[in-house]
Amino acid sequence: MTAGPAAEATLTQPPARRRVIVQLLRNPQGALCLAFLLLVVVVAATSPWLAPTGPTTTQLSASNAPPFTGGHLLGGDSAGRDILSRLMWGSRQTVMACLIILGVSVVVGVASGLVAGFYRGRFETAAGFASDVVMALPGIVLLIALYALTGPNIPVAMTVFGLLIAPTYYRLVRNVVLGVRNELYVDAARVAGLADLRIVGRHVLWAVRAPVIIQSSFVLAAGIGIEAGVSFLGLGDPATASWGTVLQNSFDGIYNNRWGVLWPALAISLTILALILLGNALSDVLQSSARSRTLTPRARRAALAAAQQEDAGRRSAPAGSPDDIVLSVRALRIAYPSADGEIREVVHGVDLDVRRGEIHGLVGESGSGKSQIAFATLGILPREALILGGSVLLDGEDLLADESKMRAARGRRIAYVPQEPMSNLDPSFTIGKQLSYGLRAVTSLDAGEAREQLVGLLDRVGIKDPERVMELYPHEISGGMAQRVLICGAVASGADLIVADEPTTALDVTVQAEVLELLRELSRDRGLAMILVTHNLGVVADLCSTVSVMKEGHIVERADVETIFEAPQQAYTQELLSSSRSVELMEI
């Protein structure tokens, strides 16, 4: 069995993986909230032993006692009951109410959401209707009406509230499942012969885990508010202590004991606050996709200074004869911070000149840094990227040094044709709107002129019936047409240079041939310069006049297209060529 060469068989070091709980504890906000909530639960569990008195023990001397008197830390209420003890006992009811709400709403909401999202059909219609109806019901009013039926019964009231809040889980879970059920890995699991229950358990449930956990902390916060509110309105059992009843009692006696209201109010608001902040911390931990991190300004400056010191020794070659060069990249160095805090350089001092009318191919495998150069010339590198040095010169002016010059050049002088045509069109606007918006942003045309010019250009890029296509939305056109639309947008402003990042990789060969033909014609007719980033040597042979071969952030070979294909000097270029020729038709 032939394994791939070392490059493919060896694995990179795995990024540090930490468990969610560890990450949460390292987040100060998460740790603090978690500690506070743990305290509430511990107090609730141990109050029969820890509380100074029972929940209903009255002591006449303590009635309306201010805080810190006679062994009553938080004072006493109008009936002479110790407020601290009542709050401690009351936390039992709060915790129980929370557990009921959470249990009922998660079981009902998540289960129905999973079934509706995975199987759809009639169940989804019925469940969707039911959830709409339930969400329209006013919760508190319903709970008050329920009181007439059940009397003061917090568990029943909380169960009903759990049912009322279940639709939030239902909607959340259903939407996530709808997305996941179309994932190829779910199809693969089906083909592998997994039963539906297993697919849901293994693949679908994992996807809904994070949003459900985050939602839960917000539901718990709402639950505490509802439980306290219901008790405060007097719908709870007056015989048992709860934060709501303590608040109500203290509120009734507010003229006799001003401090009494503070304690239950604090307990309720702090717990709700802790839950909501915990929810935010959880969503930071669970939903962050942060593999690479943005550097702090200080680390950024340090890295730049170090790079400049390195650069001081060497001088890059001066640009060639300036008159016909459109764009000149000099000693460009790009780096990314990696997960372990190191700075990893992905482009090591690259020089690149593009002349008028030249189509310059930038070839290499994925990870060779070819797209990074393209993005740098457009000033659209990701935020965490670090330009360690070098310049991008347009008419002798360094675009990297001056953000405003870059902004002035981008879209006007330098245009971009992306790899994925579909994801580069906004699905909520028609083709015509997007094109004229882009064109009018960089020119002084009015709407009518812009439209007229664009219709002409759409016709030029080979779109039949351009007037009709202007009124279509992106989902109504094919991938090949979308790429033509984007090319039209790129040339509309009269740019001198087009940066095309794998412009045909997402297209099939037939459409690819047509798009390549179009790019060739545009370059010839308008004297356009082009940087074509691709891994496909067939495309290079078809379109390019000059080729730069990239490997691991260096340009290893550069020559005109005939020389590269007929007499490649570097072993790497030869390897690329032989791989390419092994999978193509050489016969004519």
Partner: protein, 315 residues
């Protein structure tokens, strides 16, 4: 519906696995000619808006023999992927039949489909979304084994990883830690896990760059040689297809326009559409590519003239 009778399955598995309930069979010359998969008059329609339906596949018939690689080629929208999905039970079969070793596998119950899983597997196009990012490679590979009730999973996983050229410690890593080519190797290992007779390869290399593409194609060939698996290979690139196929079927608008020996179809195509497809694939040689480009332009203008000639043709 009965389970496909495995006794008729022509496979030779190097060392017969004791864990398998299936008897291993030595291959013979006669066996290799036997057809495994038979698709007859396949029609797939998807319901559209306002009661109108779109016919994606319009009467497609072909056979796939053991140890054979049959490729389906066509441009996007030609229905090639849908045929693969219909065979895998992921797309509805409106008319026609698909049989595997004589047993119908189109429109069967979910339970019956799960039994087919042992014999018909898949490698999808996109190695990024076809592997669950939350699972380790080991868990991904053990999944089909567990579903089929095969024991001794861990040893089998080492065997599979070795077969696709990945180190044994890959099993404990998450798929997101791998490159595109490595992920596709994992997907191939998953397809191989149950020793299938047929693997549907749905553009397995089109998301990969050229060096990786060549390596993955070589791996697929090597696997075929050692396990005797048959491939239904789906691609839009006649070049890729030519390097791996025994036979090629060219698909255009849901119909097969040409089918034949791989060499013949890719070098001396009979149908005009195949000719255009052939000329569309660029070659890594500027001079030859220029000639091909001119040939393609000539073909296209000829086709246009033809279309223009009878004024009734357009509607």
């Amino acid at each position: 519906m009965t389970q496909p009778t495995n006794a008729t399955r022509p496979t030779d598995k190097n060392p017969p696995r004791t864990t398998s309930t299936r008897p291993a069979h030595p291959a013979s010359a006669a066996d290799s000619q036997q057809e495994l998969l038979r698709v007859r008059d396949l029609v797939v329609r998807f319901p559209g808006r306002r009661g109108r339906s779109t016919t994606v596949i319009d009467g497609v018939t072909f056979d796939l023999a053991a140890r054979e690689t049959l490729s389906l080629v066509g441009e996007s929208g030609s229905g090639k992927t849908t045929i693969g999905r219909a065979i895998l039970g992921l797309a509805p079969v409106t008319e026609g039949t698909i049989t595997f070793c004589g047993e119908t596998i189109s429109n069967i119950s979910r339970a019956a489909r799960r039994r087919v899983a042992r014999d018909v597997q898949v490698v999808f196009q996109d190695p990024y979304s076809s592997l669950n990012p939350a699972m380790t490679v080991g868990d991904i590979l053990v999944e089909p084994l567990a579903a089929a009730g095969v024991e001794g999973g861990r040893a089998r996983i080492r065997e599979l990883l070795d077969a696709v050229g990945l180190p044994a410690d890959a099993a404990t890593r998450y798929s997101r830690e791998f490159s595109g080519g490595q992920r596709q190797r994992v997907a191939i290992a998953r397809a191989l896990a149950l020793d299938p007779a047929v693997i549907v390869c749905d553009e397995p290399t089109s998301a990969l760059d050229v060096t990786t593409q060549a390596r993955v194609l070589r791996l697929l060939k090597d696997i075929q040689q050692s396990t005797g698996v048959a491939y239904l290979f789906i691609s839009h690139d006649l070049g890729v297809v030519n390097s791996i196929s025994d036979r090629i079927a060219v698909l255009h608008r849901g119909r097969i326009v040409e089918v034949g020996d791989a060499h013949q179809v890719s070098t001396a195509p009979r149908h005009d559409y195949t000719r255009r497809l052939q000329m569309a694939a660029p070659v890594a040689d500027p001079k030859k590519q220029r000639e091909r480009r001119e040939l393609r332009a000539a073909l296209l203008s000829a086709a246009e003239e033809e279309a223009d000639a009878p004024p009734m043709a357009q509607h």
